[in-house]
């Protein structure tokens, strides 16, 4: 299960956060959303993004 959390303040820019996705697949999940919403002004990878998905780890053995 994963979650997309979108926080929209009354003033200022909203932020989009993905939880529960390992690896760079989170980018695939949010790219269409980001395009529909406007321009990305700041983008940060969080620790899960640098972890390899479980199926890739299994394939190593």
């Amino acid at each position: 299960m994963h979650r997309i959390i979108f926080t929209i303040p009354l003033h200022g820019n909203p932020t989009l956060k993905v939880e529960g996705v390992k690896g760079t697949k989170c980018k695939d999940i949010t790219s269409a959303l980001e395009k529909a919403l406007g321009k990305v002004v700041k983008d940060e990878a969080t620790p899960d993004m640098n972890e390899r998905p479980i199926h890739e780890q299994i394939n190593q053995y």
């Binding site: 303040p9 939880e19 996705v21």
Partner: protein
């Protein structure tokens, strides 16, 4: 958590602008050629007006590029009721628009939950995929 982005919102969808307007008690009138301000009628491509308040100034919607819009209005005298509905610098309309785009753009299979912080007005939308 794996990825976090800050976004600058652009108005790219008239359909979502229409939903947002309806959500806060306004209505989008497509193909309106002028909108009402203190200085009289100004040119526009569409307009947004307050439902049930014919004295309120209106918001002009201009198509600046194909499928890309900007909003113009006049808040003199609080727009005769307009500002009370849309908020300062149209913040309530912008927030409702952003929420409408998010809900419309989520791929199939997500359930959406909304939470509003009554003190700050911040809206949190959470899309959950099982």
């Amino acid at each position: 958590m794996s990825h976090q982005a800050e976004l600058e919102i652009e108005i790219l969808s008239l359909d979502c602008l229409e939903k947002a307007s309806d959500e806060i008690g306004m209505e989008l009138v497509r193909d309106a050629k002028s909108y009402k301000t203190y200085a009289g009628k100004q040119k526009c491509d569409h307009l947004i007006r307050v439902k049930g308040n014919s004295k309120a100034f209106e918001i002009g919607v201009m198509e600046t590029h194909k499928d890309r819009y900007s909003l113009m209005t006049d808040f003199f005298m609080r727009g005769h009721g307009l500002q009370d509905v849309v908020g300062d610098r149209a913040c309530k309309l912008n927030q409702a628009y952003t929420a409408a785009v998010f809900a419309d753009s989520l791929p199939f299979g997500y359930s959406v939950h909304r939470t509003v912080n009554e003190q700050t007005g911040e809206l949190v939308m959470e899309g959950v995929h099982a």
